[in-house]
């Protein structure tokens, strides 16, 4: 009798494992960044509104800042936009819009339509700096501390839960910067 139950037990075990796997399926698609706790890769990129003004990673040293990767072609960026706007208003630190693989006219039109959430803009039309940052999809949001170290990366659109989590992390980074 017990012998006959062995295949059933194996089957039930498999089902449990597969169902549990379904739960984490979305999570497993995310690629954890190897850049966490590493210095932000050096970049020097032109602005969106001012193509002649070049901004470098070093410009942001001394305070925590947020780097938000977006593009006018990215539908999820529209979804997270209200929360990006709130970040810009409530975080109290620079919020850099990293316009990725876009066209200037499209990006400007997008901002005209949906609003400018960011405090600073850089553009990476060729996507070279994005590769250095390990960007693989938009939107992505990096939190960088006052010493220029990447402390956190969120992949995908920001919703209420993620916004709250990001704000907590940002406040921690701010007090860290103030304490030093």
């Amino acid at each position: 009798m017990i012998r006959m139950l062995v295949p059933l037990a194996i089957f039930v075990g498999l089902v449990i494992m597969l169902v549990a796997g379904l739960d984490t399926a979305e999570e497993r698609k995310l690629v954890a960044s190897p850049l966490i706790d590493k210095p932000v890769p050096t970049f020097s990129l032109p602005g969106l509104f001012e193509p002649d003004v070049v901004r470098r990673d070093a410009d942001f040293l001394g305070q925590p800042w947020i780097l938000n990767v977006w593009g006018s072609w990215c539908w999820a960026c529209r979804v997270e936009h209200p929360f990006v706007e709130r970040l810009g208003r409530e975080a109290g630190i620079p919020l850099v819009g990293f316009n990725w693989k876009d066209e200037r006219s499209d990006a400007l039109e997008w901002i005209d339509r949906y609003g400018d959430a960011w405090t600073t803009h850089v553009v990476d039309f060729e996507g070279r700096s994005a590769i250095d940052l390990g960007v693989y999809g938009a939107p992505e949001t990096f939190l960088i501390d006052h010493l220029g170290t990447i402390r956190y990366k969120h992949i995908g659109p920001i919703d209420q839960t993620i916004f709250d989590d990001l704000m907590r992390r940002i406040m921690a980074l701010r007090s860290e910067a103030e304490a030093s």
Partner: protein, 147 residues
């Protein structure tokens, strides 16, 4: 070139094989030969072979179950360009793999390195095989005894 050969093969087989099988074959062949390689020019054949090999063993991170060679995603195009430039500049395969791992993690490697955390991955099939052989031997022995 390859595409042409499969097409003429299919035509020759058309008379002998049921249509459904042919359809499946056609699907499979289009899957395996579809590659999105830009017409990059290489200094020599070795470089080209390396490019092909590396783009096949590096994963496209956006379209996770495709290699860089298979994918037409914009990021895959960018990464192929990066790959091409590194090969042109004479960087070693190891260096190129490290470049990708530094940015995207070991996930980009279709052939993960053998290390302590990948030991189960590499040894797993052999362990399963050993278990299978052991179970088989025990069963055979028992049956012999029963006879």
């Amino acid at each position: 070139m390859r595409l042409l050969t499969t097409r003429s093969n299919s035509r020759r087989l058309a008379g002998t094989l049921p249509l459904s099988l042919l359809f499946i074959l056609a699907l499979l062949s289009s899957l395996s030969w579809a590659s999105a390689i830009e017409p990059y020019e290489f200094a020599n054949e070795v470089q080209e072979t390396r490019f092909q090999a590396l783009s096949r063993e590096l994963r496209c991170t956006v379209c996770q179950n495709q290699s860089l060679a298979d994918s037409d995603a914009p990021l895959a195009q960018d990464l192929r360009r990066e790959l091409y430039e590194m090969i042109r500049d004479g960087r070693a395969d190891m260096e190129i793999r490290q470049f990708m791992v530094d940015r995207y993690g070991e996930f980009v490697l279709y052939r993960p390195p053998i290390a302590s955390h990948t030991l189960l991955l590499w040894a797993g099939p052999f362990i399963m095989l050993l278990i299978g052989i052991a179970v088989g031997l025990v069963t055979i022995k028992r049956r012999r005894k029963a006879l």
